[in-house]
């Protein structure tokens, strides 16, 4: 993932575990990409909030993700 420290990505991978569904990985990928883009794009607070809302709404309806995180004890 461009612009993100590979060590951060490795750590997140290890925390979500090997069995994590592709959609969950995609979710984190989008979140981190959004943060990396924020550096040059400088979204307004309202815009970034909207983007987070949209990412969360999109992935929270995914059954595979919900099943996976439902079985994980935080």
């Amino acid at each position: 993932m461009y612009g993100i420290n590979p060590k951060i990505i490795k750590k997140i991978n290890s925390l979500i575990g090997d069995g994590a569904p592709a959609e969950l990985i995609e979710f984190f990928s989008e979140v981190l990409k959004l943060e990396a883009k924020q550096e040059t794009q400088q979204y307004a607070t309202k815009d970034i909030s909207l983007q987070y809302k949209s990412i969360l709404e999109k992935y929270s309806q995914n059954k595979t993700i919900l099943e996976f995180i439902g079985g994980v004890k935080n």
Binding site: P6, I8, I12, L15, L32, T40, L56, E57, Q61
Partner: protein, 714 residues
């Protein structure tokens, strides 16, 4: 699943630097192209001192940040400003000119990632000649010249891969601050002479913050914060028992606030305690040195010293008196010596000639007449008249002899003086005089030493020492009371924290339970579920990564340091402080000894190289005076190790000709050691090299104007 895709570490290299009228660089120069070849990552820009190496590094800093790297030694009176003075001094009324620096940066695929151009436009609006400090140009220039700044920033849009150009100053500042936080410059653009900055924490270099920033950790924290915010919004807008829920949420917020306030208070108080404790230690040391026994002992000591000084003063006077005597008592003799020599020679001559009668005592002959008897004790009779007459005649002669005798005595004295002032005795006299001189010098030195001892003691134990001890004792007591009160405040906060923290956990549990029960809407429930999960993952990642980063940096730094440091075998390793990330070298057997300049330089370079293992991007590196203050051998190790150990990091060295080209014999016995240039070439690391040369471009009122040219060598 394999998890998030890990691409190679993205790199950021400077493709070119173009300067126009920046400091010593007059006119627009050809772009200085730096090596972007990962196999030959080194570019060297060298020149003799004062040619503009540091100016070029400053040009890069100024272009990115809008100001040059902080130089505390830079004086406001300096005549050389950011804009070449020949341009300023030749501006005609109504004329407008500009100075700019342009940097093009590329990524690991050779695509332009950023382009930054910053300029200053100067315009002469009148012929007024009086001068004033100009904050834009950073120099004293005629008030008739105006200076305005501008900048253009272009970045590759991550979605379209197109370059997007922006030119509003404020917007550029924010974006550049995000991409190149100022703190990054300590690790990217730095002066190797300042490498010791990592050994201690100061306000200018917040090492820990710098490291956190360049690893990209703030991205994780920021993502967590954004999700948290969204989570709260979803929760509060979907809960059915709004009042109850809000009250619980309010309680949690109050606990959080209270905990954070008390924890911050504790931190501040602890800092105060540390400061006061240092002060208390200093006062205690003073009071230990000045307790009653110590004062009395010192008073006795001072009395003794004073007496000694008086005695030495008297001795000095006595020696001076003795010296005077030696001189004056002998001086007359020496003064008369030549005259005596002549007189004595005369006497000798007269004696030989019979002009001076031989010695005889008249008293003996008079005795013969007075006693009226002969020397054989026979009485002198009338018939001895002739004999008597002979005696009278003899007495007459005796008077003459007496004169001779006196002269003999005088000669004796003269001969004595001549003997005493002969070369043997004058050497003895000189020895005696030197002995007195030595004694005098010794006495004077001893007296001066004693006097300074006395002064030192007097300053330590001033006349009002008892008052001072009293003041310091009261001060210490006051500080101790303050420390106690701060400790009490911390304890009291801790008591509260011990209550609040479990309560907060309890309330959070209650809140989460209520969330589950109250939020009926499945859609919101799921969103909250994912948010909670993401918050937890990002929180854990941030927490664990910082300590892992520290461990990684520590091990990489240690490896470099033990390889390149002069006398590396004296060390067992390095240590990074947990609180502020300052670095120190550990000596074998725990011996405490200040490290040398060369070792400190290697430590700083190793630290920067170590930090490179955890940065979010493989940033270019530009180092001014990289080989300053280190031995030739360490220099060669550093110039090979730095670029090779750091993978394909683009490295630009700004160094003097001597540092770069010079071959040095470390001592008379050792063989000549290669130059840095030769070593870089031998290892195939040198991509480009430039030489800075200067020329005179004009003269105004006897003042020469110089211009630096950048000549590409290879």
């Amino acid at each position: 699943m394999e998890g998030l895709k890990i691409s190679q570490l993205s790199s950021l290299k400077v493709r070119s630097i173009t300067v126009k009228n920046f400091r010593t660089y007059y006119g627009e120069k050809e772009p200085i192209e730096l090596s972007v070849d990962p196999k030959k990552p080194v570019t060297v820009i060298h020149g003799i001192s004062g040619r503009g190496k540091t100016s070029l590094l400053n040009a890069v800093h100024w272009c990115i940040y809008g100001f040059e790297k902080k130089d505390k030694n830079q004086k406001q009176t300096s005549s050389e400003g950011l804009v070449h003075s020949y341009l300023i001094d030749n501006l005609q009324p109504g004329q407008e000119e500009n100075m700019f620096v342009r940097i093009i940066m590329e990524n690991e695929n050779g695509e332009i990632e950023y382009e930054i151009e910053r300029e200053i436009i100067v315009k002469k609006i009148s012929s007024e000649t009086s001068e004033k400090w100009n904050e834009v140009i950073k120099a004293k220039i005629p008030v008739s010249i105006t200076a305005t700044t501008g900048a253009v920033f272009a970045y590759k849009d991550p979605d379209t891969d197109e370059l997007v150009r922006i030119s509003s100053e404020d917007n550029i500042k924010d974006r550049l601050e995000q991409i190149f936080p100022e703190i990054l410059s300590s690790y990217v653009l730095f002066d190797a002479e300042l490498l010791r900055q990592f050994e201690s924490q100061n306000e200018d270099v917040l090492i820990k913050k710098g490291i956190e920033t360049i690893t990209g950790l703030p991205i994780v924290d920021s993502a967590k914060k954004h999700i948290e915010k969204e989570n709260k919004k979803t929760t509060s807008s979907n809960v059915s028992a709004k009042a109850e829920f809000k009250s619980l949420q309010g309680e949690i917020e109050r606990f959080e606030k209270e905990i954070s306030r008390r924890e911050n208070e504790n931190k501040t108080d602890q800092k105060k305690i540390d400061e006061k404790s240092t002060e208390i230690t200093e006062l205690t040391n003073f009071l230990v040195r000045h307790d009653e026994d110590a004062i009395k002992k010192n008073e006795l000591e001072m009395k003794k010293i004073r007496e000694e000084i008086t005695f030495l003063g008297e001795s000095t006077e006595q020696i001076k008196e003795d010296m005077k005597k030696v001189i004056f008592e002998n001086l007359s003799k020496y003064y008369l010596r030549d005259a005596f020599m002549i007189t004595n020679e005369k006497f000798e001559r007269w004696t030989k000639e019979g002009l001076i009668p031989s010695r005889f005592t008249k008293e003996a002959l008079q005795g013969l007449l007075d006693d009226k008897e002969c020397v054989c004790e026979r009485p002198l009779g009338e018939h001895d008249e002739e004999y008597r007459e002979n005696i009278v005649n003899a007495i007459k002669k005796v008077y003459e002899a007496a004169v001779g005798s006196e002269i003999g005595k005088i000669r004796g004295v003269i001969e004595d003086v001549i003997d005493e002032t002969g070369s043997e005795s004058s050497s003895a006299f000189e020895i005696e005089y030197i002995k007195y001189q030595t004694q005098l010098a010794e006495a004077r030195t001893k007296r001066a030493t004693r006097k300074s001892e006395l002064l030192k003691n007097e300053s330590l134990f001033e006349t009002d020492i008892y008052d001072q001890v009293g003041i310091q004792t009261r001060q210490r007591k006051k500080l101790e009371q303050e420390v106690d009160s701060l400790k009490n405040a911390i304890n009291s906060n801790n008591v509260k924290l011990n209550v609040y923290k479990p309560k907060l956990i309890e309330k959070e549990k209650e809140f989460n339970k209520m969330k589950k029960e109250e939020i009926k809407d499945e859609f919101a429930k799921n969103k909250i579920k994912l948010s909670d999960y993401a918050e937890s993952i990002l929180g854990k990642a941030s927490e664990k990564l910082l300590s892992e980063f520290k461990t990684d940096v520590e091990s990489a730094t240690q490896e470099y340091f033990l390889e390149i440091a002069p006398q590396a075998k004296e060390f067992s390793g390095i240590k990074i402080d947990d609180d502020n990330f300052t670095i120190s070298a550990l000596r074998k057997n725990g011996r405490e000894k200040e490290i040398s300049q060369g070792q400190a330089h290697s430590l700083g370079l190793s630290y920067i190289s170590g930090i490179r293992t955890i940065t979010r991007k493989n940033y270019f590196m530009m180092i001014d005076s990289p080989f300053h203050n280190i031995s030739q051998e360490s220099k060669l190790l550093a110039c090979v190790d730095l670029p090779t150990k750091m993978g394909s990091t683009q490295v630009t060295f700004f160094c003097t000709n001597t540092e770069y080209i010079g071959r040095i014999e470390e001592d008379d016995l050792s063989e000549e050691i290669d130059s840095a240039r030769h070593v870089l070439k031998k290892h195939g690391l040198l991509g480009c090299e430039y030489n800075l040369v200067d020329e005179v471009i004009g003269e105004i009122d006897g003042e020469e104007y110089r211009n630096t040219n950048v000549v590409r060598i290879s």
